[in-house]
């Protein structure tokens, strides 16, 4: 490959021309289908990005760590169960062995117009959204951006729910919200500059006795992109009262969504189906679906409800 640069240091990577290549599970697909055609800068050989380690009271995950490694890691399983479940549930076993944590956060949209050679759109430097005018059945329910396809990253949604931060270029950190922006820029999935390398993911201190769940709504048993996906974290006291709640939802908005009103509602409530049902209803507040995405509002309800139950019951499965 003539248009490939294999970087061995951050500086080299940052100065090279081209799109960063990590596991390749997103980028190589776009290249094969002529959606990405420029140069590539491989960042896999940069040292120090492949570890999971204790850090500042929490944990730190290098951007080159694979999803599978995260899903299998004992400390992650213990302290951040919602992350481990999700990392072990998305895509396929082969993809999870290849895909990196950096790549999963910064992957490009799965919109079928975007990945179709014949179309141009905001995300390809164009000035329109053919999906809005055409078919948008997999589109957003919270329509805040000129681009109507939801953010693709399962792990981005989960990490947001864990209040994680990311380290950029080994220099600065930003919150997940800062990484993804406010969901109004239709041209990009995140706010990094093309020369920015995501180097680490920083997880805050674990929450004691956390019960977590991750679940997605899909049509088949497995290995399908979520229509709606939810991360839920709960702590309940000895009387089954909820003392801590964090719920986030993906597949419905230009960026993953936290649900603070749902969290606020749940805290202090008994961990019952009744509470979960009210929470699930609250999760749909403010939805303004597109003509073809009304069904997703009902799926938000169902998926939030189901994931809360799973979290409470500690069900270790994100699919099926």
């Amino acid at each position: 490959m003539t248009n490939l640069i294999i970087a061995t240091t951050l500086a080299e990577a940052r100065n090279a021309e081209g799109e960063f290549l990590a596991g390749g599970t997103d980028l190589m697909d776009r290249r094969r289908h002529h959606v990405s055609t420029g140069g590539m800068v491989d960042i896999c050989r940069i040292a120090g990005l492949g570890e999971i380690e204790a850090h500042a009271g929490g944990y730190r995950i290098g951007s080159q760590v694979t999803l599978d490694a995260v899903a299998q890691h004992p400390a992650i399983i213990d302290h951040y169960p919602g992350l481990a479940i999700a990392a072990g549930a998305l895509a396929t076993p082969q993809i999870r062995s290849m895909a990196s944590m950096g790549g999963v956060l910064l992957q490009t949209t799965r919109c079928w117009y975007f990945r179709h050679e014949a179309f141009t759109c905001y995300k390809k430097g164009g000035d329109s959204c053919p999906s809005r005018e055409g078919d948008h059945r997999f589109g957003v329910v919270f329509d805040t951006s000129p681009c109507v396809f939801p953010h693709p990253s399962t792990i981005g949604m989960v990490l947001m729910n864990y209040a994680a931060q990311v380290e950029i270029n080994g220099e600065r950190t930003m919150t997940m919200q800062e990484l993804y922006g406010g969901g109004t820029d239709g041209t990009r999935e995140h706010t990094l500059a093309p020369s920015d390398v995501l180097t680490q993911i920083i997880l805050p201190a674990a929450v004691n006795a956390e019960r977590a769940g991750y679940f997605r709504s899909i049509s088949r048993a497995r290995a399908e992109w979520a229509l709606v996906e939810v991360s839920a974290r709960l702590v309940v006291d000895d009387n089954d009262q909820i003392t801590f709640a964090r719920v986030a939802v993906g597949g419905v908005a230009p960026v993953p969504m936290l649900l603070p009103t749902v969290n606020d509602y749940l805290v202090g409530k008994p961990a019952t189906d009744e509470s979960f049902a009210v929470a699930a209803e609250l999760a749909t507040a403010g939805a303004n679906p597109l003509p073809q995405t009304g069904y997703k509002v009902k799926l938000i309800y169902g998926t939030v409800f189901d994931t809360l139950q799973r979290a409470y019951n500690r069900i270790w499965s994100g699919e099926g």
Partner: protein, 893 residues
């Protein structure tokens, strides 16, 4: 770059391809690894990298630096793995195209499992989880489950196994050669230029830039005078170049001037007042979506109405009956049903490699269901004598009806090769294949049913408005004529042409859609009138074979214990549904089976092809049975037109066409051997025995007997059944005479499906399926069972997941990859029980008829009826995706 692949050290130069799959297939020529989806979903390209399964289609080639890679080729001979033996023994494969990927993943799973669990048997869920990154379009999942469980449990750790298919070993070791694997000396890459517009007139095509490019060896274009393209993806020019990138660049360099014409997508738009007339004066050129010839019909702009209205069914009376009953205030059932487009999605795309020699003879490797027919099509198209065409298809990665015709990739490969005198391959990309590789037409089916006071059928009116893009000649409503009897009928088929790629015959053309409507209507009528659905059907037919199937349903535990419709208020609701299917049967009269003996034993040849239907196995078994030997000691050669005429794998005709002549040839050969050998060896008291020739000196086995005399040959032609034929047709439109017979009698199938509907998330899972068929003698039960499993799984795809979606403003297909086009995966596979009902088809030579279309027909309707039983929701539209069902569930409350 240095990489260890299958224990060999490779050193690769500077110019690596981008992905590992291209490195492995093209530079190392390890073509057992397949590339199908190119986007990480199907797993066909899976290899082990330092022991971990990875999809090589997304793996950057340079990531293999310093790695230890194992491809399927590493697992053969002495290294054959227990998982591969298990796959062969449990028939976890049909066409075999997905098999290397499954085997590699299965091997990795087995090794992990053994370390952690010893010989404990993994659950279906555990197997499904491990194989979630693999897709099999033939639907071999039942065998794969069994194989994985048995292998992990240690049942195949020894060397012993009995393969169900005679070509299983080639398939599980990646040795089976498909058209995509052909690598001839100097082979060029051909690519086809396709219309980006759904409707346009081509004003000019300028190939000159492309012609001048270095590495471009041939270009070709259709004559463009008055050339109108009517769908996105319609091919009209092609190039051949030294490599993929050059060919792509050459395509981009072709300058085409289009006059954009207005287009329409969808039935309603095509029938609207202001819609453009799509075929206009060129209606004669409209392609047929049907299996046979184009049925006569008449046009009203984009609406074409078939003139065939199953004569003698009294269409006028049907309307009168309905009108009268309505007048009398009696209830008449009337409902419209809708079906989406199901894409064939064979894992091997439509592809061809062609090479001309100095004598003007062309050899074409094609992924086809019809080598014998294709030979004549090619000769006709290129205007050369039949003898100058050889068609070869050793293995075919699935067809399902879409590979019957002379498709554009074949024409392009042959045409380009003729221009440059070099071998040219044309292999479409997955997006091309998903866009134009064929689909089952969708559309609207309006049904009206009137019954007398005793619920006997009085009138049946069916109007099908089929959408097969620009193609015509759909037969859907007419399916209402087979199955139930009585009453007046008006069965009218309409095609509504609009600007998207033509539909093609798909396993039981018209059947699943017609039954989706008819069998759901019956279910609904029964429900509305508080009748038992089987009792109601009994009033509609007294056919003996069907009655037996009704008895079977009524005796089934699942049916007896079915829940009351919509009786549950739980989140997960179980439902049981039943549906029936009926089919005609065909056979090819001209099929010739050639049987030879030699030192090496028996050899059977015929110019058919094994698309996963197991015809090699059928031929081997039927021959072996006569000689009382093992099927593996019969050499079967198919897939080459040098052999005598063999059947097309379409219309479920293969088994019905080959079995009788094979048995006859074997029987004659045995008799001949007896006479010749007894005489040549001067055997005393020679007596005919099933095992061989018994004589005073002992027993001379048939295999030994063959060695005593010079090689023998017997050829037997199938010929027509003695019974009067109801209808005789020809697929070859006069070229070969009357090769296709419409046999007498009908086959029938009953399906009971059990579903679980998650009412919170609108998701339907098929848990179990019981399937019973009436198709005469079942010649090779395990092949029949495997085909039926596949038919059930494809029926589930039709019912629940599969739908080709088009962007209306641009006429572009959107479901161009295997993530957005969802075929059933292993986790979606129900537990299946398949049975056969003894029945008399004594008027048919061999006593058995085809079943591989029949088996899929009623599945989708049974699933829909089960969803109704679970929820009380009548799903008129297929597929029943969460997107649709969740709204209906909420509307119901």
């Amino acid at each position: 770059m240095k990489t260890r692949i299958n224990n060999t050290e490779y050193t690769f130069g500077e110019h690596l391809p981008e992905t590992a799959v291209d490195l492995i297939r093209n530079q190392c020529n390890l073509v057992g690894t397949k590339q199908v989806c190119g986007s990480g979903v199907c797993g066909a390209c899976t290899v082990l990298v330092d022991g971990t399964p990875m999809v090589s289609c997304l793996l950057p080639a340079h990531h293999l630096e310093g790695k230890d890679v194992q491809t399927i080729e590493a697992f053969s001979g002495e290294n054959l793995h227990p998982v591969q033996r298990a796959l062969m023994a449990h028939d976890g494969l049909q066409c075999g195209y997905c098999t290397p990927g499954f085997a590699i993943e299965g091997i990795a799973f087995y090794e992990r499992w053994r370390v952690e669990h010893g010989t404990e048997r993994p659950s279906r869920e555990e197997v499904a989880e491990a194989l979630a990154g693999h897709l099999c379009r033939c639907g071999a999942y039942a065998g794969i489950y069994d194989a994985m469980q048995a292998a992990c449990a240690g049942e195949f750790d020894g060397e012993d196994y009995t393969p169900q298919r005679v070509d299983a070993l080639e398939k599980v070791t990646g040795q089976a050669q498909y058209t995509t694997d052909i690598r001839l000396e100097g082979q060029l890459v051909g690519k086809v230029l396709r219309s980006p517009h759904p409707h346009a007139r081509i004003l000019s095509i300028d190939l000159s830039e492309a012609d001048k490019m270095e590495g471009v060896e041939a270009t070709a274009a259709l004559p463009h005078r008055n050339l109108v393209v009517r769908y996105v993806g319609q091919p009209f020019a092609a190039v051949a170049a030294v490599d993929e990138a050059t060919a792509q660049a050459a395509l981009n360099a072709i300058k085409v001037a289009y006059e954009i014409l207005p287009h329409v997508i969808g039935i309603d738009a095509a029938l609207a007042e202001d819609a453009p007339d799509i075929w206009g004066k060129q209606r004669r050129d409209a392609v047929s979506a049907a299996e046979g010839a184009t049925l006569p019909g008449y046009w009203d702009k984009n609406l074409r109405t078939s003139r065939v209205n199953m004569g003698g069914l009294l269409p006028g009376k049907a309307h009168k009956v309905v009108a009268d009953m309505r007048k009398q205030g009696k209830s008449v059932y009337s409902q419209s049903y809708y079906n989406g487009f199901q894409v064939h999605t064979a894992l091997e795309p439509h592809c061809a490699v062609a090479l001309w020699d100095e004598t003007d003879h062309v050899t074409v490797y094609v992924s086809t269901q019809a080598i014998s027919a294709l030979k004549y099509y090619i000769a006709e198209y290129f205007d050369i004598p039949d003898e100058q065409v050889t068609v070869i298809a050793q293995h075919i990665g699935g067809g399902f009806g879409a590979k019957l015709a002379l498709f554009p990739e074949v024409i392009a490969a042959i045409g380009l090769s003729r221009r440059c005198n070099k071998p040219v391959s044309v292999v479409p990309s997955r997006p091309e294949e998903m866009s134009i590789g064929g689909m089952r037409p969708g559309g609207r089916f309006e049904i009206t049913i009137a019954m007398d006071d005793d619920f006997k059928l009085e009138a049946l009116i069916a109007r099908a408005y089929s959408d097969s893009g620009v193609a015509i000649s759909n037969v859907t409503a007419m399916m209402g004529a087979i199955g139930y009897s009585g009453g007046a009928r008006d069965l009218q088929d309409h095609d509504v042409v609009n600007n998207h790629a033509p539909g093609q015959p798909f396993r039981g053309p018209g059947g699943p859609g017609a039954l989706w409507s008819l069998e759901q209507s019956i279910d609904q009528i029964a429900h509305d009138h508080q009748l038992d659905p089987i009792a109601l059907r009994r009033k509609w037919t007294d056919a003996e074979n069907l009655r037996k199937l009704y008895d079977w349903v009524e005796a089934s535990e699942a049916w007896i214990n079915r829940p009351q419709t919509a009786s549950s208020t739980e989140r997960f609701r179980r439902g049981i549904g039943v549906a029936f299917g009926h089919w005609v049967h065909y056979y090819d009269t001209e099929v010739v089976i050639r049987l030879n003996t030699s030192e090496n034993g028996l050899r059977v040849t015929t110019a058919t092809q094994d698309i996963g239907n197991g015809v090699r196995t059928t031929l081997a078994r039927k021959t072996a049975e006569v000689f009382g030997i093992s099927p593996t000691s019969v050499q079967v050669d198919v897939g080459h037109t040098d052999y005598p005429h063999g059947p097309t794998a379409g219309g479920s005709r293969t088994t019905a066409s080959v079995v009788a002549p094979t048995q006859r040839a074997a029987t004659l050969m045995r008799e001949r051997l007896f006479g010749l050998v007894a005489e040549a060896l001067d055997l005393e008291n020679a007596q005919f025995d099933e095992q061989g020739i018994r004589h005073s000196g002992g027993l001379l086995s048939w295999l030994d007997a063959m060695k005593q005399v010079p090689p023998q040959e017997v050829e037997i032609k199938r010929g027509p059944d003695p019974q009067l034929m109801q209808y005789v047709g020809s697929f070859l439109m006069g070229r070969m005479g009357l090769d296709l017979m419409f046999g007498q009698g009908r086959s029938h199938a009953a399906v009971i499906a059990e579903v679980e509907v998650d009412t919170l998330l609108g998701k339907t899972r098929v848990m179990r399926v019981w399937h019973q068929m009436d198709a005469g003698r079942i010649h090779v039960p395990d092949m029949a069972r495997s085909a039926t499993y596949g038919g059930i799984i494809q029926g589930i795809g039709f019912a629940l997941y599969e739908e080709k979606i088009l962007d209306v403003p641009h006429g572009q297909p959107l479901t161009t990859n295997l993530q957005d086009y969802r075929i059933p995966s292993i986790g979606d596979t129900p537990e299946m029980t398949v049975g056969f009902q003894d029945s008399e088809f004594e008027h048919v030579k061999g006593g058995g008829i085809g079943l591989s279309e029949l088996c899929t027909l009623p599945v989708a309707a049974a699933v829909a009826n089960a969803v109704f039983n679970a929820t009380g929701i009548r799903c008129v539209e297929s597929p029943i995706k969460p997107e649709r069902l969740i709204d209906a569930l909420n509307a119901k409350g």
